[in-house]
Symmetry: C2
Subunit: 505 residues, 2 copies
C-alpha cells in the first residue's frame, strides 16, 4: 500500500499493480447506466455495505476475510466492516470506515484517519460509519438504492440488506434497487482492461503453481500435497488466497466433481498408476483464476487414460476455435458434448448415432456439469444469464450450466469439459434401455477404474472476433509427458493460444 | 479414515493417530458429573448441533470449515451439518447426519449410510437429522439440555441454540443447560492423556515449521513469506489448518499484538537489521498449538534487541520454574511483570523501585496483554476462569489476562510474556507524571525502533509437581544465533524442558 500520487493495490515487488482508478471507472460506468433507468430517481444514492469480519462460532478467531464482491468491484477496499455511498447523478463516492477504540492501536495497528482512506482508495470523501446519516443528507439523498436484498444470482442465495442507525430516515427504492442489481451484474460480467490484466496475472501465477505441483506429485503421497504445494507457490507470488477450495483428486476420486471439501479433504493415498485431476486457482485483489489440469502420476498416460484425455482436449479445442461474440454458450455446451460422444464412439465406448445419444441425454451420465461459467471476482461469477433469465428455465439443458447466454467481447469464462466415470450415473445409464444400448460394457470396464475422470479447464477472454486463452499450462499429451519428464515450460503471454473464430476449423 | 476394528482419526503415514475412544471418554466424563448436578433431571438428554458449512456472502463458495469445538470435543466429527444426542444417565450417544440427495454422489462423493458414521466415530447409534424427534423419544428424553444459548466464555460471544423440526415437543431445561455449560468448560480445561499427545504433536509440527521458517527469513522479503512457509511446512506434516491467523510482524510492527489480520496482512517489507516476531500454530483434529518465536533477521541480535529478548526469556523461565498445581496464574502474570521490570531497570530503561512501578501499573504500557491463556480446541481455550468468575471482575489486573485461576494438573496453557514499544502507550506513560518518572528517555530511544517488540510463547502442561514445556524451539540467544547460522536443531520430546517447581530457584 504505497501511494505515490495515484493510489494502487499491490503485494510488493514482482506482483501486479492494480490502480484504484479502476474502481472509480466501475463506479462511473454503473452510475451512467443507472441514470438512464426510469426506476431510479434524480436524488438516488446507492448505499453499500462491505463484508463483515465473521467469528468462528463463539470463539475470538475469525474466518479468513474476503471482501464482498460488489463492494470490491466498486471500491476495492481490503478492510472489513466498511460502508459506502455512491451518488448516481455524478458518481460522487464516500467511503465509511469504523471508528476504532484507542486499544485498536495496541492490538491491530495504527488507527488510520478517514483522510488516509480517502487517499488510499481514491474516493471523493471518507468518513466514519457513525456519520452515514449526516453524509447522506449532505449528498442530498432523496432515495436509497441497495445491492443487498435483491434477487439472487448464481448460487440462489441472498445478501442481507445493509443496516445502519437512522436508515428509516431515508426512502428506500425497491424497484430502483432491482435495476441496480441487474445493471451491476451486467457491468461486472464484461471485463475492462485492468480486470483483464488481473485475470491474466492470476492465471500466470496459477500456471506456475500448477507446474510446480505437477512436478511434485508422486505415487504413495497423500492427495493434499498438491493443495499444500499450490497454495505455497501461489503465496510466494503474492496470491494469499485461492478463489475456491482446491479439488485434488486422484484415481476414482477424479469423478467427484467438487472433491476436497470438509468431508473429503484431499486426504487419500495417491496410487502410482493413477491420473490426478487438480482444479485450483489463485486469487489476487479479489479476482480468481479457475484452472484444472489432469495428468498421470507416473508421467505417462495409459492407453485408456490417453484416449479419454484426448477426447476432452478435443472438446476444449472445438469450443475455443468457434467462440466469438454472439455465440450462445448453450450451443458450446452441446458442441463439447457432441465432440466427446464422437471421440468416445471412435474409441469404442459408445455404439450408435451421436445425434441419437444427444437426443437421449447420454452425456449427462458422463459429464453432469456445464461446460463453463463466468469468471471474475467470484469464481462462478455473476451474469451467466441475462436479467430475468435463470439456468433452471431451460429444460433442454439437463446439466448445471452456469453460463447460458450469447457471449460478448471481454467476457471472461471457463471452458472446462470433462469425462467422468461416476458409479451411480453409469449404473443409471445402464439400467435405462435406451441409454444402456449405446454403451459397450466391455470397453466401459477398461476405462472405468483406470481413468476415474478427466477435466481440462481453461480461462478464456472473448475478443472482437474470437477468443484468447489466459491459461498457459502443458495441455497436449506430449507437452504433459515432456514436463513430467523434467522438461522446461515457460509461462508467458506468448504461450497463450489465441483464436480467430473459424480460421482453424 | 481407516477403521481396523477401532475407529481413529489420522492424516496418514507419519501423522498422529487419534482414537475415537477419546471422545467416548469425554462423553462419559461429562455425563458422570452431570448426574451429580441437582439441576439435571433423570431423563435428561443433551442435544448438540455441530458446525454448519457457511457461505461466503451470497456466493457458492464456503469459508474453510472448522468443527464447532464442543461438538468436536464430544464427537470428533469432521463432517459439517450434523447433530448429536447424548443421554445423561448412561452416556448413550447418537449421531445425526444430513440426508443427502442423489446428486451428492456426483458433486461431493459417496453417500455414507448412518451405519458408516456409527462405526467411523464409535457411537452407539447413527441416524439422519430428520429422525431426531423419533430418536429422542426412543431415548426416553424427558428434558433437553443444550450447549448453545448458554452464558458466554472467553470471547463474550454466544452460540445459537440448536434448532430442529419438532423441538417444541420436548421440554428444555434452562438451569440444567447452565450446569452442562459449566461442567463442559471445566472438563475441557483439564486435558487427558490423548489430548496431551495431540497437543504435543501440534507443538512438534509447529516447532519444525517455525525452524524452517526462521531459516527462510531474509531482509528484503515481504513479511508474508513466513506465513506461507509455516503453513506449507505444517501441511506437509498433515496439519492443514492453523489455529489462528498467523502473526508475522517485523521491526516496529512487532508491537502490534494481533498483526496479520485483513487490514494488516503481513505484507510489509522486512528490514535486514530488524527483529521478527512470528506467532503461528498448527492445528490437528481441532487442537491448536500457539507458539511465538522472536529472532533477528540478520541472525545476530543487536545489543538492544538482545537485552529485551533476554529480559523476556528470563520472565518465561521465572514462571516455568514455579508453575505447579495450586499456583494462581494472576500471580504468574505479576511475576512476569516484575521480572521484566527488574531486568529493564538493570538495563537502564527504568529508574526507581520495581515495587513502585508495579503499584503504578507501568508494565501495562510495555505489555498490555496477559501472560497466557488456556490452550486446546480453541487457541484461547475455555476454562480460564472458574464458572461464575470473569476476567473483568478483578480491577487489580489491568491487562487482558485470559487465565486468572489456580492451575490444575494437566491444564495446558501458554506462557507468553512480551515487551513492546507501542507508540501511544509509551506516550501515555510519558505524559503521566508518576509513570513518566520511571522512564529514562535516552535509553528508551535506543530501544524503541530497533526492538519494536519481543514475545516468547511456550505451550506448557502442568504436571503433578511442576510443569513440562511442549514447545521445542531454539530459545536462548546462543541457540537462536547458532540455528540462524545453519546449526542443527532436533525437535524431540527430550528437548522439552521439564520443571519440578522450586527445584531450580
Ligand atoms: Mn470452473
Ligand atoms: Mn497465545
Amino acid at each position: 500500500w504505497d501511494r505515490g500520487g495515484e493510489p494502487f493495490f499491490s503485494m510488493g515487488a514482482g506482483t501486479l499493480r492494480v490502480p484504484m482508478a479502476m474502481h472509480a471507472t466501475h463506479r462511473e460506468k454503473l452510475c451512467e447506466v443507472l441514470r438512464k433507468r426510469p426506476e431510479v430517481g434524480a436524488g438516488a444514492v446507492i448505499l453499500l455495505q462491505g463484508g463483515k469480519e465473521a467469528s468462528v462460532y463463539d470463539t475470538d478467531t475469525n474466518w479468513d476475510f474476503k471482501q464482498e464482491s460488489n463492494f470490491q468491484y466498486l471500491f476495492g477496499v481490503k478492510e472489513p466492516d466498511c460502508y459506502a455511498a455512491l451518488r448516481v447523478h455524478d458518481a460522487r463516492a464516500v467511503l465509511f470506515v469504523p471508528r476504532m477504540e484507542k486499544m485498536y492501536q495496541a492490538w491491530c495497528g495504527p488507527i488510520k484517519p478517514p483522510a488516509w482512506f480517502q487517499k488510499a482508495y481514491g474516493v471523493h470523501e471518507a468518513a466514519h460509519t457513525d456519520e452515514i446519516v449526516q453524509t447522506l443528507r449532505e449528498l442530498g439523498a432523496k432515495e436509497l438504492l441497495c445491492v443487498r436484498g435483491s434477487p439472487n444470482r448464481d448460487s440462489g442465495l441472498q445478501l442481507e440488506e445493509p443496516n445502519f442507525d437512522g436508515k428509516d430516515q431515508f426512502g428506500f427504492n425497491q424497484r430502483g434497487s432491482g435495476a441496480l442489481w441487474d445493471e451491476l451484474n451486467e457491468i461486472r460480467s464484461v471485463k475492462d482492461e485492468e480486470e483483464l490484466k488481473i485475470l491474466q496475472w492470476v492465471n500466470d501465477v496459477s500456471a506456475e503453481a500448477h507446474l510446480e505441483t505437477m512436478r511434485a506429485v508422486q505415487g504413495g503421497q497423500r492427495e493434499h500435497l498438491a493443495e499444500a504445494t499450490f497454495k505455497y507457490k501461489a503465496a510466494l507470488r503474492g496470491c494469499f488466497r485461492v478463489g475456491y477450495s482446491c479439488i485434488c483428486g486422484s484415481g476414482r476420486r477424479n469423478a467427484i466433481l467438487h472433491y476436497g471439501h470438509a468431508a473429503e479433504p484431499n486426504s487419500e493415498l495417491v496410487q502410482a498408476g493413477s491420473l490426478r485431476l487438480l482444479d485450483m486457482g489463485a486469487e489476487y485483489h479479489g479476482y480468481s483464476a479457475d484452472v484444472t489440469c489432469s495428468f498421470p502420476v507416473s508421467g505417462r498416460f495409459s492407453r485408456p487414460q490417453r484416449i479419454v484425455y484426448e477426447a476432452v482436449w478435443d472438446a476444449v479445442l472445438a469450443v475455443e476455435r468457434v467462440l466469438q461474440p454472439g455465440v450462445c454458450y448453450k450451443d458450446m455446451h452441446r458442441l463439447a458434448q457432441r465432440t466427446l460422444l464422437e471421440r468416445m464412439t471412435s474409441a469404442g465406448l459408445f455404439v450408435g448415432s451421436v445425434e441419437d445419444m444427444m437426443a437421449a441425454g447420454l452425456m449427462f451420465h458422463f459429464m453432469p456439469h456445464g461446460l463453463g461459467h463466468q469468471l471474475g471476482l467470484d469464481v462462478h461469477d455473476v451474469g451467466g444469464y441475462p436479467p430475468g433469465e435463470f439456468r433452471k428455465d431451460d429444460p433442454s439443458v439437463q446439466e448445471n450450466l452456469r453460463l447460458g447466454r450469447k457471449v460478448k467481447e471481454n467476457m471472461v469464462l471457463t471452458v472446462e469439459p470433462g469425462f467422468y466415470f461416476i458409479d451411480y450415473l453409469i449404473e443409471e445409464a445402464l439400467a435405462d434401455t435406451k441409454k444402456g444400448g449405446f454403451i459397450n460394457q466391455e470397453v466401459l470396464h477398461e476405462f472405468w477404474a483406470d481413468v476415474g475422470g478427466v477435466r481440462i479447464e481453461d480461462d478464456v477472454v472473448i475478443t472482437s472476433n474470437g477468443c484468447r486463452v489466459l491459461t498457459c499450462v502443458p495441455r497436449t499429451v506430449e507437452e504433459i509427458e515432456a514436463v513430467m519428464a523434467g522438461g522446461a515450460w515457460q509461462v508467458s503471454a506468448a504461450c497463450c493460444r489465441s483464436y480467430t473464430a473459424g480460421s482453424k476449423m
